[in-house]
Each structure stands twice: as C-alpha cells, then as structure tokens.
Symmetry: C2
Subunit: 413 residues, 2 copies
C-alpha cells in the first residue's frame, strides 16, 4: 500500500520532491500534506488538491503521515520538527546538514525508525548510501572532497581566467552561485558541517563542528594559481577526514591538488562536487556530480523516501571506533605563500625560521620579480604538523620583509 508522506518546507527543494513523488511514484507513496510558511504564496508545482498547512505540527502529528520529509532548513524550528517526528517513531528524511552535524548524537539517539539524509551532503551524489551500504565493514583511511559548489565555481574561474578573488566573488553573486553574504560558503563553514557528517559515517566518531580547523578561500589570489600551475597542480577547497594509525583528523582547507591525483579533483570545474574515499578493500574510489540544485537535491531525498517505502534502509551510522582519538594537529605537506618587499637575506631568514619551527622545506619557488616592493614567493614543506607550519607562518608574518601574513594551503600528495 502506498505510504503517506508529509513534507515540511514548500521551497525549491520541497517543490521538487513533491513533483517527483507525485509524477513518478504515485503507486509507492502519496503526499498527504505540505507545511509552508506562507499559505497565500502561489506554488506552480502544486497540483490541485494538495493539502497545504502552515504549522509543521499539522504534518508531523498527523497520525496518517508515516514519513516526514524535512526541507525547511535551519536548526531551530527544523530541530523541533525533526525531533518530534523521531519521538513519534516516524521515518524521517532530511536535507538538513547543519541540524545533523550540530545534533548528531541526539538525532541518532532519538531515531527509532529509518532516518535518511542522502541530500544533506553533496545534494546529487549518492555518497551517504555508498558509505552506508557499499563500504560497510571496510576499513576507511580517508574521506575527502570538493563539497561546496560556490567555492569550486570561484576557484575554477580564478584558475581559468587569472582573475582575483574579489572579481570572481562578484561574478558568482551576479550569477546566483554565491549569496549576498557569502561567509558560510567562502569561509568553509558549509564544508565543515558536511565533513563532520562524513567523518561520522566513515569512522563512527562524532566530531563537533567547532573543533574542526577550517580555512576558507577568501585570501587566495591569482598568483597562487600561477604557483600551483608551476607545481603541476591547481587549488581546490577540500573537506577531509583522515585516519593515521589511531588518530583521526578532520579539517577544511584549500589544497594544492596535482592534475594527476587519482580522485580527479583538479578536473572538477564549476559547481561540481567530488568525494573520494580511500579504503583497505576498495582502494581509491570517487563520486562526482552536482552538489546542489533543486532536482539533484530532490532526487537524493526521493531515493531516501523510496528506500523507506521499500523497507530497504540500513543503520545510519557505524558504531564508533573506541580506539580512535581526534586530533586537530594533523600532518600534511604545506604551501606557504609570502608577499614581501625584496631585500637581501630573505632566503636565509626563511631557512632559520623553518629550522626553529622544525619545518622541513621542500622547495622555494620564485617567479621572475616584476615589482621588487611587492613580490610573491612560495615555500613548500615536507610533511609537517599543522601547528608547526602555523608557528612558522607567524614568524614569517613578523619578519621585516613580510607585507602581510603568509597564506598557508595544504598540498595533496
């Protein structure tokens, strides 16, 4: 018998879910009601007879509604709504990464029935199902990916057009790829919530979003793409959860990614997302596609709804690995770009600061100087601790030749 679905949220994604479910799957489920903020707003996607209500309780507490689809977003009302639905033992499908990342353990604790959240990370890519089903019981060593379309659009535009950050942000805003306040995207907060969820899926560990070292893309300049190119690479913003021995590190940082890296990050341009998984049995696998958008996101929600309707769901998260310790001081190779006024002794000074901070230098790159009063050079390091490279960068920042604090990016091996 067709299951009864209630949708909370009548925006772009909610409308997309409604359209797909009613046009393609009327034999599997029926949409009982849709809760919206403003009942008077016209909704082109709604067919005649759609029951709109303006209180989420009218959907969630309707005894006939078996599956609640939450697509309103936010962590206040949405939290009440999802928690209530879980308490009532209903199946819940949500796209709300912020809610899930912030209240992971409470959501898991309250869920008695199926919980679907494929749409919460990388809208159109089946990364959640892949981790839950395909990799169950495998030993994952890392999950890493391009998980924000706005910043990937901006970075790949900077790469192809040799323009600076400010110009490309303006263009992204004009095209509707970036919000008027772009902070959540460009400072990496969106990726932070996503990688927290993927870390939980891959390792079972609940990671507080505030504990995740996060660097965005707002200090990247055209010159950094010149240097990345010199390294046979480009720059992508990655969220990473990585296990080394028994320590787990989770971080968000722009990475210098080689063109030849097997995950294919470098060739992902525009608002594309790519998530790569490295595991003992599978080796490196990656999934690529649209990270957001009405229909890609709606499709992930529909896939969850169909799994719920078919009784084909699996546990949302694996058991935590009790031996794993979370560390924020992970090791990586780094790229340190310095803007300086040229003078004698810079290389010697850099060498001394590196030695003092136990940072092993791999190379110093310097394109021909056009303006000696304002020139950029790059120091690449061997694998060193994040804290060590930060201390090195702080030393460089206080040097007389430095015109601004250095930019530190990760280098992907």
């Amino acid at each position: 018998m067709a299951k009864k679905i209630g949708i909370v949220g009548g925006g772009v994604v909610g409308g997309g879910v409604y359209e797909i479910l009613t046009s393609k799957f009327p034999h599997v489920c029926t949409v009982q009601s849709v809760a919206v903020r403003d009942l008077s707003k016209p909704r082109a996607w709604a067919s005649a007879g759609t029951k709109f209500v303006d209180r989420w309780e009218a959907v969630v507490e309707d005894p006939e509604v078996e599956v609640v689809v939450e697509v309103m977003g936010g962590t206040t009302t949405a939290k009440e709504c999802v928690f209530r639905a879980l308490e009532l033992g209903k199946a819940v499908v949500t796209a709300n990464k912020a809610l899930l990342a912030e209240y992971t353990d409470e959501v898991v604790g309250k869920a008695k029935g199926p919980l679907g959240f494929e749409a919460a990370v990388c809208g159109g890519i089946p990364i959640i199902a892949t981790l839950q089903q395909h990799l169950a019981g495998d030993e994952i060593s890392s999950v890493s990916g391009i998980m924000n379309g706005t910043t990937n659009f901006m970075l790949s535009k900077m790469e192809s057009s040799n323009v600076d950050y400010g110009d490309v942000l303006k263009e992204a805003q004009e095209l509707g790829f970036a919000e008027a306040d772009p902070t959540a995207d460009v400072e990496g907060h969106d990726v932070r919530a996503k990688i927290a969820l993927l870390a939980k899926l891959a390792f079972g560990t609940t990671v507080s979003v505030e504990a995740i070292p996060t660097l965005g893309i707002s200090r990247i300049q055209a010159v950094d793409f010149d240097y990345a190119k010199l390294l046979g690479a480009t720059i992508r913003l990655l969220g990473t959860a990585r296990k080394d021995g028994e320590s787990l590190s989770v971080y968000v940082a722009p990475h210098v990614v080689p063109a030849t890296h097997p995950a294919g990050f470098a060739s992902a341009t525009g608002p594309t997302n790519v998530v790569s998984i490295d595991s003992k049995q599978l080796g490196v696998a990656s999934l690529r596609g649209a990270g957001a958008g009405r229909y890609p996101t709606a499709r992930s929600i529909v896939a969850d709804v169909l799994r719920v309707c078919a009784g084909a769901t699996v546990p949302p998260f694996p058991d935590p690995n009790p031996n794993l310790t979370l560390t924020s001081d992970y090791a990586s190779r780094f790229y340190v770009r310095v803007i300086a006024a040229d003078q004698l002794g810079i290389v010697k000074a850099i060498g001394e600061m590196a030695e003092r901070n136990v940072v092993s230098i791999n190379a110093i790159l310097q394109n021909p100087i056009t303006d000696p009063t304002n020139m950029a050079f790059v120091v690449t390091t061997d694998a060193v601790k994040h804290s060590a490279v930060q201390a090195f960068a702080a030393d460089v920042a206080s040097a007389p030749f430095a015109l601004s604090p250095p930019l530190v990016l990760n280098i992907l091996d």
Copy 2:
C-alpha cells in the same frame, strides 16, 4: 538471526568474500558451505571448520542455505547453479556479468527473491546500486564509461609512454593485467556484456550482446595519441548506452575524449574504471574506482549480501520503456585516421568520398610529414551516422593512396 550463506566458487573472489563475511559480519551471516572444484587444493583464507564440498548442488540444495553467492564464472555450470537457486526461491548474489548479459530475461523471470549483482559491472564501483536506488524514476539519457581495467591500463600507458600497441600489450601481460589470450578485453567483449547490463538498468531494455556494435583497441597506434593530443584529448575505450528521442543505441568503441570532459574520463589512468550517467534530474554524475581485483569485487558482493540480510533490496531492473527502439546506426562525431602514401590530390579525393557518403568533415589534421611513403593524417567529422562513416572509411580504404583500412574512432563531445 544470522542468515546462512552458501558460496559457489572457491577462487580469489570467493575467498575474499569468505574472509570479509566471516571476519567482519559474523553477527549478520554465517558461511554454511563453499563449493570448490578441487577439494584437495589448500586455501589459505579458509578458517578451521569451513565446510568444503565439490558439487554446487550440495550448496544450492542445502535447505539451510538462504543466500547463494555464485562466483565460479562461466555460462554453463554457473547457469545451472544460478537457475536452480532462483527456482528454489533463494536469494542469489552473483558477479557473473556474462551469464546475466546473455540470459537477462530468464534470470529476471526466474527470480522470486532478491537478486544482487553489484560485482558484475565494474567490481569496486557501486554503479548498480546507484542506478537502482539513486536514479529510480529519473529520466536517464546516457550511461557511458571506462569499464575495462586492462584496456585502460594499456591506453593510458600508450598515452604516457608513446609506445605502440604490441609493446604495451606485452607489458600488460607481463604485469598480469592482460591474459595470455587478451581477446575478451582488447576486442571489447568484456565491455559489451557490461554495457548490456547497464542499458537494462538504465532503460529497462534487454539488449542482446551480439547486437552491440563493438570495436576494440587493437588497431590503435601511438600516432593516434599524437592526434588526440592535438585535439586537446586522449583515447579511452567506452561502453555507451544512449537515448536520443525514442531510439536507444548501445555500442562499444574507443573514443577521443577531451581533457575537459566533465565525466573526468581523460584523467582516469591505469586500471581505473569510470562510469558516467547523464539524467534529467541529476545532470552528469560519475563514479570512479577500481574495476576489478579480489577485494574490490568481494566488497561489492558483500554489499549485496548485507542488503539481502537486511531485507534492503529493491527490484533489479526497471520496467522496459515500450516506446524505445534499439538502433545500431547511432550518430556521433568521428575520428578517421588514414595511413597513406603521400601524393597529389588526396585532400580532394577525401572531400569527394565524404560528400558522396554525406559525411560532413569538421577538420583535416596533418602533422609535418617525415616519411612521405608512410604518413598518417586524420579526418574529423561533424555528427554523422555510424553507417555513413563506415561507408566513407570503406571508400578511403579502396583509394590508391591508402596503405591500410582507416581506423575509425568516436569523438566524445
């Protein structure tokens, strides 16, 4: 309660499945028995107490065995075994692409219970589950991919080392990537069976493997990579199932793939597989990873077994679309490489042959001639019918300047 699993086939993959199930999932399932060809052969992966039998019937007809894992391969005994298990109403998990591709409708007709075959196409990549679950009800316009690790290893080696086909085949054989008789791989037969299955999954249409136009890689030479590079591209062997309006074309052919193509085919080197799906709601999505190997393949089988044990399976194939007609005469852009003895009037003759066969030429590419008695040039076409480019190539082959029949590759837009 733990379900009882029977494994038919005690080779590399069967052993991998045994290892993963017994070490990671003893609470979910137990391996009741394993059928092997030779009981006396030592098997390092088997733990004490493993029940080996030498007749598949002893596994399949054991009333306690609920799930039969078939990993012996082939289409004779394996067919009897799988058909019998299905007739007995057991859940079947198989990696046997040849069997499934050749007997699709019979297998579907006999299956009363769950049928899992994630491992049958691209061993380690969850392409089957993605099509069955994530894309259910979406309108797919194409599925296309690099699905054979041996040939991708060979092509990417030819690309990076500028060596000819014979040398790279020898190297692949020495490294164990290619069989002593490499026909199934290099002539595209392996990909043909895989794309037949993916076509069934994407469009519901059963496609006979014999009806699939198939071209392998054995006539590709180092010079073709030079010309591909000139086109900002490289060469990859793709299996493709594509819907244009109401006609479906399924084919296997080496493609000239641009470095910038969003599926990332060009950056997939070595034995990597990449499958790309284009659908109405999702846009272009792709999955990349190991296509074969003991543990990647075993992992796909284990994922199926776990879905069966959790009752979390969905229908294997969608209903066929009755409006879809299969055509072998698909349209594409083509690359026609000619080996010729230089003489006056070649370009004019080529132009006349193209016109006669209604082939619209896009470009003629000619690197500086080093040996006028044996020189290669390339004609690229606009989108034309496969039959038209074949007729054009036959005309060129019979021209006095042609030293051998031209090589026709597809060009991926």
